[in-house]
Symmetry: D2
Subunit: 374 residues, 4 copies
């Protein structure tokens, strides 16, 4: 076990900030390098990172890094991970989604496997304390046998051009937001999804609200697991008032509901407003329920701490948080796109086999049916 884990971060925007805020709480972590195209000096300064590079290659050229966080826009995950592997780095954290299409994701995993790289998939929901507590109660038998899960992440849209366009993001709200509840539901159920029925808006003029976005602004995936458990997962950009992450878990003898983002012990009425309430809220005036410590409650601190421990104690990423888990979660979203496009339920085994056979099973084409439906 090394005394200090030396970290490099690729990226300097929102996701990079989430990682850095989590790293800085760990006494045995030192953030030593960052690489980014912009916001570089500001980011480095804010987190006391000594070495700032404009080119990720310069960061990868170092041989003193124990762990690298890949926090670039979705469409660059593929290239940056391959570059890090080629440079000989052995522990990588890749932000969600793993990639923007299955072929890219498969290539990343294969490269890591060949090179003996520990590829960790950053699904923070698996470490959100309230959701871990829910799992604990289920494991204690508190709701009997698990039958059905509902989960969503929704907000009112991102200002980032990388989130608004499918070519950068790989999809719209169901991919960018919905991949959280989908990955988490799969982790919770502990089984593979066998069938997906999806419904998403069609992007641009076919969207409900954000007609300038090329990806969907609303999407739902109905999933059936191998053991029959059902899940309904959702991501949308139609939700004002702050990010809404909500979970319902139904068992044979009980129910658990978790209000991940608004389940705060505080209620505030403020005329002048204050600094910050919750992610994506557009005001702090009037009544709000500010998060106490969002980096923690959304799971970022726990996730990063767990990944750092994988490095410290030379362990693989836990179940649900490997590159392969990221790949499957991506596959479920893309299967939901396929279902919405074709108006048909999609069997996951067929869908993944088709993807593996070389036909790219992506969501790149605008879903024709959804457009027509409007």
């Amino acid at each position: 076990m090394s005394d200090t884990v030396r970290v490099g971060i690729v990226g300097s925007r929102f996701a990079a900030m989430l990682h850095a805020e989590s790293y800085k709480r760990l006494p045995y972590v030192k953030m030593v390098a960052v690489a980014a195209k912009d916001n570089l000096v500001e980011f480095g300064g804010q987190y006391g990172i000594a070495d700032c590079y404009e080119d990720a290659a310069d960061l990868f050229a170092r041989d003193d890094l124990d762990l690298i966080s890949v926090c670039v826009p979705n469409f660059l995950h593929h290239q940056i991970v391959l570059q890090a592997v080629a440079a000989g780095h052995k522990s990588l954290i890749c932000e969600k989604p793993l990639a923007t299409n299955l072929a890219d994701g498969k290539e990343m995993i294969d490269a890591c496997d060949r090179a003996g790289v520990r590829l960790m998939y950053a699904e923070d929901w698996c470490y959100a304390p309230a959701l871990m507590r829910a799992k604990q109660i289920i494991d204690e038998g508190g709701i009997g046998k698990l039958l059905y899960v509902k989960a969503k992440e929704c907000h009112n849209g991102s200002h980032s051009i990388y989130a608004q366009r499918k070519e950068y993001c790989g999809g719209g709200a169901l991919l960018h937001l919905g991949v959280h509840p989908i990955a988490w539901a799969r982790w919770l159920v502990g089984q593979e999804v066998t069938e997906v029925v999806g419904s998403v808006t069609g992007g641009e003029a076919s969207n409900l609200l954000h007609t300038s976005y090329t990806g969907e602004d609303w999407g739902v995936a109905v999933m059936t697991f191998a053991n029959g458990v059902k899940a309904v997962c959702e991501g949308n950009y139609l939700t004002c008032g702050g990010m809404d992450d909500f979970v319902e878990i139904y068992g044979s003898d009980g129910v658990i509901k978790v209000d991940v983002t608004f389940g705060s012990p505080l209620r505030v009425y403020s005329r002048p407003g204050y600094a910050y309430a919750v992610e994506k809220a557009d005001t702090t005036k009037g009544w709000t329920q500010p998060a106490v410590d969002e980096f923690n409650s959304l799971g970022y601190c726990g996730e990063i701490s767990a990944f750092v421990d994988c490095v410290r104690f030379d362990r693989p990423a836990q179940r649900g948080l490997t590159g392969q888990d990221g790949l499957v979660s991506l596959g479920i979203v893309l299967a939901a796109y396929r279902s919405s496009e074709t108006g048909r339920a999609v069997r996951m085994d067929e869908f993944l086999a088709e993807a593996a056979s070389g036909k790219k099973a992506s969501g790149k084409k605008a879903p024709a049916r959804a457009k027509a439906a409007r």
Copy 2:
């Protein structure tokens, strides 16, 4: 305007009780007759109804009734309504769902139309005060343009054999419970549904929990309206702890969430328990949020009062509460069954045309795909 509205009730169980509780709050209503196979004397005694008949035909033979409530099991709605029409009665309230298949429902409506009968469809959600308040806020522009609706009614299953078997009920949870949110969403949006994607469990061994029920114990319908608005409606029997009716309404500039059943101003912790908390709750011990006045908050009082006013002031049933509205709501549920069976999205115009052409578009066959998926 008549001074007193004289009411006859057919049925003596749960739905009949809901009607009677609502009638008795209206000073200008007199319940004069009830017909039922069982529980007759008890019911009549409880509500001070003078004349109790074992055969509905005897009730229909009277010529002094201004209004008749049809509160029999679903599969008998068809027969009882036709019987009432044949006997010359002119104002009927039919409980939900209108019928167990579209052909029956169509026949009921046609018969009423021919005979000039006012057929009122008892969708209490349209009169739930909290949901009416939500509509008022939408109408005032409080959330901008309406985009998306989520709504559900869920509980842990019914003890009534009529609810547990498709041959009596016409379906399972999506029909018996989900028809409330579906009818309400259609009324709120004020447009017709063009497409339905449905997912339901398959009944019996294919159910998640209630393997003795022949209808589904879980169902979701994703609906697209003519103006592009989306709705996700759900009914399930997987929900412990009391009936859970919850609504979310998303607009371009706001959100409304309504906790219809648990949105009580009271929180109670009770060691000994007390008489009643909310519908279908299996305990009043520990922490509960008892309804203040469920007959009112679930909309029964408002609905019955509105129907009585239709008689008093000789008005047709309001939009959303006519027999035709009941027929369309039933059609949406049955289309969701079809979608789940076939694994395909269902276009409502095609589905209804097919039904009108004589092929019964019912949900009677067990949905093969849902079974296979488990």
Copy 3:
């Protein structure tokens, strides 16, 4: 039992509106006359009242009124009630507080008693549906033996000059708002208060926020009942965000909490805002919990209906809602003022005896100690 109850209202502002809104829901009530110094034509027009008088004497001169609502500023209750009695009217509803001092209140009650007048004291809390439901649960044994009650009514101050000045109001927040929880707690416990410990701010410069008000802007009364039950009641003008009426009831085996004003089933996020959320809220933008039907949920509808039934069925006002109950509630507030002034616990029997002996036990003098304490 008369077919129609004919009502006259004295006053045309907030309290008069509350009465009129409640009367208009009752099919057997007809509002036939109103008397007020201002807002007369508008008020009469709004509620379809045919006869509008500038002088209450003209209203009292009529002999066709079955019931009169006294909705004038507090300091005029005494004069108007005496005037109505003198004119021969037999059923009066007096708004809270009964009077601004005990001598006035005593004179009103004596006059009514001598003339056989039914004097009803308008404590709406006793008819708030949520609080009635709480009482029902207590009566069912749900929380065991009643031990302790906390209750408050608080908002951010009134624009009415009659509420801001002690000479018109008789006190500040503890009288104007706190008299609701105090009267309700006494009604709930069903016992007399034996001792009061009070703490109030001193008005004007001694207030915490409203230094232009001559009455206190914050006040607490700790009450001990004859059976040992304790109550802590509060009224303050320090509470932003809408009127906050909250109740906690502690028993030997349970707890009941009632969020009378914010315990709504609706949660709304609105960017543009909408018409109305809750009493005294200064915005409808951002997150709000709008009341579904405040006239009903605050008890006005139930209270007025009960008073009208007293007239219809020639019954006395119920326990807790007689003039005498109003007098005792006023006495408790004034005893709290005395306690705050003197820094001593006040025994209610001594305090009331002293008042009866002719020394006016009012709260008119500025409480010296509270001032000094700042």
Copy 4:
């Protein structure tokens, strides 16, 4: 800065467990010794503490301890602290309340001052994350000028004989529970209390529920601060359903409410029950709102971490967490007892001066008035 902080704990019951759970989360802390009369081996085993002593003197005889936690029953705080000081230890954490009377507390502080001992007072509320977040919002101007605070800690009574008897505890619910909100309110306001009005039940037959307890089972203290701010703090043993720590903070332009114990993002309905919901809850069946991580949310982790940092970085205890702060908080509770006994408001300067002059201003005598009041 020492690499590792070596900790000794005196006590092995509830408070000791809270300290140990917090210590074990800190990578730079090593718990090396524990002393206790009972539960010794179990406690040592649970937390991996190598050296277990039956006599605290043996623990104090060690010269390798950087920090000592005093977690014995209240009445032993005095003796144990003096013993630790005499043995030459330099950093002590004393559990609340500091002592059972002011003379003892003063002697402890004087001894520490003379010996240069860092005496830290364990008020966890000052480190409860939700309450720290509330303070941050106040500091950002979110509610304008602070005017008024309400705070309480309440549950249904303790099984510990040390909590049930005044001779061991120093008082009843207002001391044992209420000292938390009182110390926290004083820390938040940042001013001294000038006047206290108290009301408490009289113990034994004069209690509302727990007639076997010699201390009060209900108590309220109304406090006026030097700047005029008001606070109402409460502790009671009348509250079923789990420990209820609730805070309200009123400013000139806003309000903050913090539900410290029930403000969980989880709502659970469980038929079989599960391991643990919240402190002092007597069931996990039915509906519950389980704490996510109570050691953290109640402030224990933050408090212990802060104390350990005082040792690591050789800093004094922060404002509000010194022995002197503990003494003043105790004084406020005892002044509330005096006020309840005498039926008079108590000026804190006079009360503390009297105590300093040698007359023990304790709450030892049963409060005569409270008894009489029943």
